[in-house]
Symmetry: C2
Subunit: 233 residues, 2 copies
């Protein structure tokens, strides 16, 4: 009662409604068509009133990004946990990757918002990703973790094609992770990202109507590179 007064509850409900309508606009017309005036119109309010809840449109969009990262991360975690606690890290990675792709294609405008170029005013969002509390960092972390487990088990493929010395010099935060893990992770991640982004952004419209075979090929290739592990840890 003291923690959540009546005022606060109705306020949170209003904030939720704003974000709900914002997302509906995002889905309907892409990142650029999220507008305070349209939200206010649908809520039967004045646009100025929304400034009691968000300092600017940018802030609303950034919150939307955070929510979306949390949503896709939760879906990936669910798929991962459905495999059971003793599942092979490789299988966990594959399940998460497929879930990520499924979410992105089922929610193209949302995926475009968080995986595409930053909308003006949202650049800072990506820049704050170094913060571990950041939703984007949390999302990335669930993919890093199984990779670390593979490394600890000595199963990580070698990153022989990556110049580790130069890569080490290009990292913002040194030493948190072994450079080999970083190299393999980044290589694998950008490959998946490439297939996904290319399809999301229509860059493959001239070449393929469905990129699932390409995505699966990257997954298969990654799995084939990992050294086989014992039956259970």
């Amino acid at each position: 009662m003291s923690d959540t007064s009546h005022r606060e509850r109705v306020r949170e409900r209003t904030v939720a409604e704003i974000k709900e309508l914002a997302r509906r606009q995002l889905v309907a017309g892409g990142p650029a068509s999220v507008s305070l005036r349209a939200i206010a119109r649908e809520m039967g309010m004045t646009a100025a009133a929304l400034y009691r809840y968000f300092p600017a449109l940018d802030a609303l969009v950034i919150e939307l990004c955070t929510d979306l990262y949390d949503e896709v991360r939760a879906e990936c975690e669910t798929a991962r946990d459905a495999l059971g606690p003793a599942a092979d890290p490789v299988d966990r990675l594959l399940a998460m990757a497929r879930t990520l792709r499924g979410w992105a294609l089922a929610h193209r405008p949302e995926a475009t918002l968080i995986f595409g170029p930053p909308v003006p005013g949202v650049e800072q969002f990506h820049e704050q990703c170094l913060d571990l509390e950041h939703a984007g960092a949390c999302f990335g972390a669930i993919f890093v973790q199984p990779m670390v487990e593979l490394w600890e088990a000595g199963r990580l493929p070698d990153a022989s094609h990556v110049d580790l010395t130069r890569l080490a010099g290009a990292l913002p935060s040194q030493g948190e992770l072994p450079i080999e893990v970083t190299a393999v992770f980044l290589t694998s991640w950008t490959r998946l990202y490439g297939v996904l982004a290319a399809e999301l952004f229509g860059q493959l419209a001239w070449a393929a109507t469905n990129t699932e075979p390409l995505f699966e090929a990257e997954l298969a290739f990654f799995a084939s590179q990992v050294k086989p592990g014992g039956a259970a840890g």
Copy 2:
């Protein structure tokens, strides 16, 4: 004189100036900040006057896309041709890929426009890519060509991880290229695109400040997969 009257020349000069200013705005503020009114203001004109040259803002942006594709393609072709006519297809591909990356990082807003998600109203641009005259298709073609040469020489790496049957069913235009070539091309292309797009869009801000080692690693990996060819054709 008859082909290009005085009227036409001054008109082309005006069109060029409009596109020049549009690009300057693109560079300064990203794709969303290209505005007819601002262009007109800088030209000492009324916004309505610009409609004598472009039917809408979208059309101007699409023309800008075409110009940018032509520009980056020309740079890649120059780098390719600098290798001489007898250069190995692999070397030509590597040179073009590096040139592409160099151009993209030197012209980030422009690269974001053509390699990122379509700006609202420009979706049709990507959709028209099936037309071989399309600037985007021409750009892609210069990367396809050496790949075909490798295939003809029997040097193409096998695409064993790609389900060729399913991929064949996901192509818009069947049979123009052997499916193996398509598979290798798309896999290689999306890998490069992944590294490039991830850096362009700030998706790797938390992980790396410079993706050149990753890009070079993909190039090295590709080169290592291609079977060695004779000294000269």
